[in-house]
């Protein structure tokens, strides 16, 4: 372990707010608002991490085209950028709040970190994937906690005796 590095398990937040596949859009937005969060891990019945849902993913329902095609186009080079006009113009019926569930929105390619990893490794992963929070899992991919940039900074400050 490098100098100053701490095990992720010591620094992470153990009480994690999660979503299920069946969590509705309305419930999800209420969680985001209530806890001022922008991403949530999605877990199955055995508490295994099956995805992650971010506030940005909610924008998918404003998109009238299938996400598979948009993801493919996103990789194709030379596309010019367009503004999110649809965000203000689109008509969303109120029933969408209960009809749309997390499974429709979540990203299944989730970046996780093992409990035995260090805060240095967690920080590298955050920088590489441009993330602020990473779910911490055991060998069976079960959710143990979540580590954020906030947790790491607090731990460093504590270590230095500032806090």
């Amino acid at each position: 372990m490098g100098e100053g590095a701490m095990p992720v398990a010591e620094v992470m937040t153990r009480k994690v707010i999660t979503a299920k596949r069946s969590t509705t859009l309305k419930e999800l937005m209420e969680i985001f608002r209530r806890f001022s969060l922008r991403t949530l891990p999605v877990v199955d019945r055995e508490n295994k991490v099956i995805g992650v849902v971010a506030l940005e993913d909610v924008l998918k329902i404003f998109q009238p085209h299938p996400s598979d095609i948009l993801d493919m186009l996103d990789r194709v080079p030379f596309l010019d950028e367009y503004d999110d006009r649809s965000l203000w113009d689109v008509d969303i019926p109120p029933e969408m709040g209960v009809l749309c569930v997390v499974e429709d929105l979540m990203n299944v390619n989730v970046v996780t970190i093992n409990e035995e990893a260090t805060t240095i490794q967690a920080r590298s992963l955050m920088k590489l994937h441009r993330l602020r929070r990473i779910p911490v899992v055991d060998k069976e991919n079960c959710l143990l906690g979540i580590i954020s940039l906030f947790d790491i900074i607090m731990a460093v400050f504590k270590q230095k005796g500032i806090l």
């Binding site: 009238p64 085209h65 299938p66 598979d68 095609i69 948009l70 993801d71 493919m72 186009l73 996103d74 990789r75 194709v76 080079p77 030379f78 596309l79 010019d80 367009y82 006009r85 649809s86 113009d89 390619n109 970046v111 590298s124 920088k127 590489l128 994937h129 441009r130």
Partner: protein, 409 residues
């Protein structure tokens, strides 16, 4: 003029052209190409011909490696399976249609209207390879112009979904087709009186070798990527591997396009967290593409424009008919909705980036020295004309299909 000064001019003037193009709602690429044409030896003569055809051609190799890698990375099998029968069938038929119609038009009418008088070269060493290659390049459709129109008119529905699906896949078909076309055309040019077996062996080796190299480098990058702990080091690894793949392909005499596309394909399908391996290219692509497309425009040669003009018309005519009929056949066979059957073909005419890239690769290949100049000028002219004709047709198709949500401007 030295090489670095030329690169600086290409990037800065291209950047300006891109900004201007976006101001008048044209794709940035059109701006780069038009600026390049202005800089060409035929017009303002700012970038000297010997640099364009000499040292600057390394820019072509680098950029095409990146383009092929990114397009390979868009081909996730999971996504492809979910696209549906219609999109796959229409993509196949409209690409083949464009290839066939453009190829046949050039093969049958080319020698009547397009003068080519190289010494000791037969029809099968000039017009036939030209027909095969331009036909293959004509498969490509530009997603940029299509997506811009879809955004502008907030179009949605089965027609728009099919249209976007086809344009997303089409460039991959064009890369595959052009790699095969280049390989077989080289065989035709150099073939002479060789036996069929000896003639077919080099193209087969080229295709199999490219696939094998792409798979090898793809797996190497998958295993090495955990060593890159930051975005910058990951970019160094990815960029280095693309260059390695291009360089090795050149050394082995195989297709750098096919090898790089295979590398991207292997990574996206064999690696769980592959997003960043493609995302890191975003950090450098603007500068590379500005340089590349401005350089592409600079290849424009006014001296061959009389012959290239006729060729350009054959390309536009063949491509329009091939894409239209191919889309009709593909949509009928896959029982697509009526709006798709009737109008999709009209939405598939935009072309730009990949078309220009592929044709530049042909131009820099010494095997095609006799036809290279003519081909690039004709294709560049067809791209510019297409930028004017194709978007209104795509708009018309979206409106006729009843999927536009805002009135026509």
């Amino acid at each position: 003029m030295n090489l670095i000064l030329a690169i600086g001019i290409l990037i800065i003037t291209g950047f300006g052209g891109g900004l201007l193009a976006r101001k008048i709602k044209f794709p940035r690429i059109s701006g780069y190409i038009i600026i390049g044409i202005l800089l060409s030896p035929s017009l303002l003569n700012i970038i000297p011909s010997q640099l364009i055809r000499g040292e600057l051609s390394v820019v072509t190799d680098i950029t095409l490696g990146i383009i092929a890698y990114l397009i390979g990375g868009s081909l996730s099998l999971k996504r492809l399976k979910r696209l549906g029968r219609s999109i796959l069938a229409i993509t196949a038929f409209q690409s083949l249609g464009a290839w066939l119609f453009v190829g046949l038009l050039i093969a049958f009418l080319g020698h009547l209207f397009v003068p080519l008088n190289p010494p000791h070269a037969s029809y099968s060493q000039t017009y036939l390879p030209m027909a095969i290659i331009i036909g293959a390049v004509s498969c490509a459709t530009a997603p940029a112009a299509t997506l811009a129109i879809v955004h502008e008119y907030r179009a949605s529905g089965p027609f728009t979904t099919t249209l976007l699906g086809v344009v997303a896949l089409d460039d991959a078909v064009a890369i595959l087709g052009t790699s095969v076309a280049i390989s077989f055309s080289r065989m035709l040019i150099g073939g002479g009186s060789l036996s069929l077996y000896k003639m077919l062996l080099p193209p087969l080796w080229e295709i199999a070798g490219s696939l094998a190299l792409g798979v090898g480098v793809g797996f190497a990058i998958i295993h090495m990527s955990p060593l890159a702990k930051t975005r910058k080091t990951l970019l160094a690894l990815v960029f280095g591997m693309i260059m390695l793949c291009v360089g090795l392909s050149r050394t082995l005499g195989i297709s750098p396009l096919l090898a790089n596309m295979t590398m991207g394909f292997v990574i996206v399908n064999r690696m769980k967290q592959s997003e960043q391996l493609f995302g890191v290219i975003d950090d450098i692509e603007d500068v590379i593409f500005a340089m590349f497309f401005t350089l592409a425009g600079a290849h424009f040669d006014l001296r061959v424009m009389a012959a290239a003009g006729v060729l350009c018309l054959l390309i536009i005519l063949g491509r329009f008919s091939g894409k239209f009929l191919g889309a009709r056949i593909g949509s009928s066979l896959s029982h697509a909705p009526e709006s798709v059957r009737k109008y999709l073909g009209l939405g598939l005419f935009p072309k730009a980036g990949v078309t220009v890239g592929l044709i530049l690769l042909v131009q820099r290949d010494p095997a095609f020295s006799t036809i290279g100049n003519l081909i690039i000028s004709a294709v560049l002219a067809s791209v510019i004309i297409n930028e004017l004709i194709a978007p209104p047709l795509t708009k018309y198709a979206i409106f006729k299909a009843g999927e536009a949500k805002v009135p026509l401007k």
